[in-house]
């Protein structure tokens, strides 16, 4: 069992995301993360799905997805040289005493402070899941008030073969 990243190219129409997620639910596969958006071609959307499973499960997922009429292409990019990114917003408890420490962590991870409140900060981090998990761990001791993640998006490096 390991985490796989699938990029699923679909028709950009209402209901397509429901078809994809319903398939996962019905067949009992669990989605770890999901991100969806329009591509360079406005009639096509791309869904990036992270799913746990062995080779057999992935094969079934892929074959079942291909049966959806509005699914155009599926690529498992787990083994490809690819760029994966996720964006996270973290609201953290931060009074004057600890702000300097937090800024230091933010600098180390090349994150950004995007809002300052009286007793809190919002930090924006972009990166792969490893980096994000690391900064979240480092910030936890200060008190995480709110956290939201976009889900992973991914792209294979180099020109399209």
């Amino acid at each position: 069992m390991r985490k796989h990243t699938l990029t699923v190219t679909v028709e950009n129409r209402p209901g397509v995301l429901t078809r994809v997620t319903t398939l996962f639910r019905r067949r009992g596969y669990n989605i770890e993360s999901l991100a969806v958006g329009e591509t360079e071609n406005p009639s096509i959307s791309r869904i990036t799905i992270m799913v746990m499973g062995d080779g057999k499960i992935l094969e079934q997922v892929t074959k079942q997805l291909y049966k959806l009429v509005e699914v155009i292409k599926i690529v498992d990019i787990t083994e490809e040289r690819s760029v994966t990114r996720e964006l996270v917003l973290i609201k953290i408890r931060a009074d004057n005493n600890v702000r300097a420490d937090i800024v230091q962590i933010v600098d180390i991870f090349r994150a950004r402070i995007v809002d300052i409140g009286k007793n809190s900060l919002i930090i924006e981090v972009t990166g792969d899941s490893g980096k994000i998990d690391a900064i979240v761990e480092s910030l936890k001791p200060f008190g995480v008030l709110e956290l939201v993640r976009t889900g992973v998006i991914a792209m294979v490096r180099g020109e399209i073969k």
Binding site: G15, T18, T22, R26, K63, K67, V69
Partner: protein, 562 residues
């Protein structure tokens, strides 16, 4: 030419070659019914929308064409759901048109509004909500294309009332299919075919395991050729009945839970399994780890997702069963062989035939009813079934001669399927007698369609194997729940003879073995009216042999001695 959406719809149906639809009118489909009023398309008025879906399904199975049904929005559409799910599980091509409230009302919980595309999403091959009259022609074309190609299945097209009312400028033949995510599977991997041929040539104990895919791709001829060329015994699934003649010496009958002992033993001993158009369903395999333990597996199916889903194939071949079998046949010469294998099988056939004991109550044995029907019709009939014991006995004791003559809800197991399916089959194949083998429980689930059969003068025969029980559930209660017959006694039931007569059909009660043949012959002579044969059978007869759920095929109950 200025045409309303509803008129465009009917023109498109005609372009698809549709001459018959099954349906039930209602508020949201008024424009469609107004257009049907003067159309040359024949509309069969059912008495419940579920009947329309099953009748369209029976029509499709019997003819090989796409079945079409129409229902109104809301409850009309939801009443189709069981029929759609039935077709989906058995891969039957249907296009179901549902009315929908006007586009401006969608999402506002309007009167008779139901989100039918949402509801049917997991039980259709694909579905559409048509939002513009301009999209009607293309959508209909795509719906039929999707329903009948690759692995067939049901497609729902939801049609809002205003989309059907509005007129637009329409030119026939302008609509084009636009499906970049859907490719029709052509050809096959010829390297795999060569590997399969080598395995067949070297096999000592091969078995063909044939399923519904053989029927739906019209490959019974190719399958019989392969079996005869190499003298390979054939076992069929419930859905594969008719793939090989029931009286052929190569026929092993059905395998699985209520399969013959010799079919299941053959699977246990086989060194090669040629699985054609099958999906290794749990009712077939029993305990999957011990299924065909000594066999290499050649798995031929149009649906790549079926290959490796339940059982790993040594030689997976994705393609039309018909095309693949043709390719295999071309590379094989006819031989006389497997005499040892045939000897073993013949011994099993002699030792463990299908058999049943005499009645304990002096009643007719249900199995003998099927044998009698078989004797009188000689395979030249279409048999439909309800679900339960009636279905299993029909599969075990009727010797099917042709493909598309056994219509049964295999996957979903829908009680109430058989009678409306028989109506659809009779309309599609008026040249064939059509007999619904029913139970007294199942038949009551769509009994209202008697009015339909009487109205259209359809001489469909319903044989109720009346044991006043929900027999299959009672059988399981007897075997696995200590004989506690919880709510399976349905002896409080209508007088089926009077019921038939009340509808204007013929009703005949059969209580003694001697009356059976004359009653069946009278029913078969009827040309204008449906007939109910209320046959009082042994109340507690069980279906044997039986593989208990979750057990290996080699572990069978009953059928060795009675």
């Amino acid at each position: 030419m200025q045409l309303k959406g509803a008129e465009i719809l009917l023109r498109c149906l005609q372009e698809e070659g549709v001459d018959t639809v099954f349906g039930y009118p209602g508020g949201a489909v008024l424009p469609i019914y107004d257009a049907l009023f003067e159309s040359s398309i024949r509309h069969i008025l059912v008495r419940h929308e579920q009947g329309a879906a099953h009748a369209a399904d029976g029509y499709a199975r019997a003819t090989g064409k796409v079945g079409v049904c129409i229902a109104t929005s809301g409850p009309g559409a939801t009443n189709l759901v069981t029929g759609i799910a039935t077709a989906n599980m058995d891969s039957i091509p249907l296009v179901c048109f549902t009315g929908q409230v006007g586009t401006s009302l969608i999402g506002r919980d309007a009167f008779q509004e139901a989100d039918i595309t949402g509801i049917t999403l997991p039980i259709t091959k694909h579905n559409y909500l048509v939002e513009r009259t301009e999209d009607v022609a293309r959508t209909v074309k795509e719906a039929f294309y999707i329903a009948r190609t690759n692995r067939p299945g049901p497609v729902v097209v939801d049609l809002p009332k205003d989309v059907m009312e509005r007129s637009i400028d329409y030119k026939a033949g302008d609509a084009e299919i636009n499906l970049r995510g859907y490719r029709v599977m052509k050809g096959y991997n010829s390297g795999q075919v060569i590997t399969a041929v080598e395995l067949i040539k070297n096999a000592k104990r091969p078995v063909i395991y044939a399923g519904g895919g053989v029927i739906s791709s019209d490959a019974a001829g190719e399958l019989r050729e392969l079996a005869q060329k190499r003298k390979i015994p054939v076992t069929t699934t419930l859905m594969g009945m008719g793939a090989i003649p029931g009286n052929s010496y190569l026929n092993l009958g059905m395998l699985g839970m209520h399969g013959t002992r010799y079919a299941n033993y053959a699977i246990g001993e086989a060194d090669l399994l040629i699985a054609a158009g099958v999906r290794f369903d749990d009712r077939v395999t029993g305990k999957i780890e011990t299924f065909a333990p000594h066999a290499r597996v050649i798995h031929i199916d149009i649906d790549a997702a079926e290959i490796g889903k339940n059982v790993d194939a040594d030689v997976p071949i994705v393609g039309q069963v018909k095309e693949v079998l043709q390719a295999i046949n071309q590379r094989l010469e006819a031989v006389e062989q497997y005499w040892e294998w045939h000897q073993t099988i013949d011994r099993w056939k002699k030792e463990f035939p299908l058999r049943y004991g005499p009645s304990c109550e002096g009643r007719i044995m249900p199995q003998s009813v099927i044998e009698k029907i078989c004797e009188l019709t000689q395979g030249e009939t279409i048999i439909t079934t309800e679900v339960g014991q009636n279905q299993m006995w029909a599969a075990q004791y009727y010797k099917f001669k042709h493909a598309r003559t056994f219509l049964t809800s295999g996957g979903l197991g829908t009680m109430g399927y058989g009678f409306p399916a028989a109506i659809g089959a009779k309309i599609g194949r008026p040249d064939m007698p059509v007999i619904d083998i029913a139970g007294d429980g199942s038949i009551q689930m769509n009994i209202q369609e008697l009015a339909t059969a009487v109205q259209y003068r359809l001489p469909v025969i319903i044989c109720i194997l009346n044991n006043q029980f929900l027999g299959m559930v009672r059988q399981w209660q007897g075997l696995f729940y200590g004989g506690r017959y919880s709510y399976t006694d349905v002896s409080h039931q209508p007088d089926f003879v009077k019921l038939a007569e009340a509808y204007g059909a013929v009703g005949i009660r059969v209580t003694r073995e001697e009356e059976l043949e004359a009653a069946l012959q009278q029913a078969l002579r009827e040309t204008e009216r449906p007939v109910i044969l209320d046959i009082l059978v042994e109340r507690e007869a069980d279906v044997y042999p039986m593989v208990p759920p979750g057990s290996s095929l080699s572990h069978m109950l009953g059928g060795d001695e009675i």
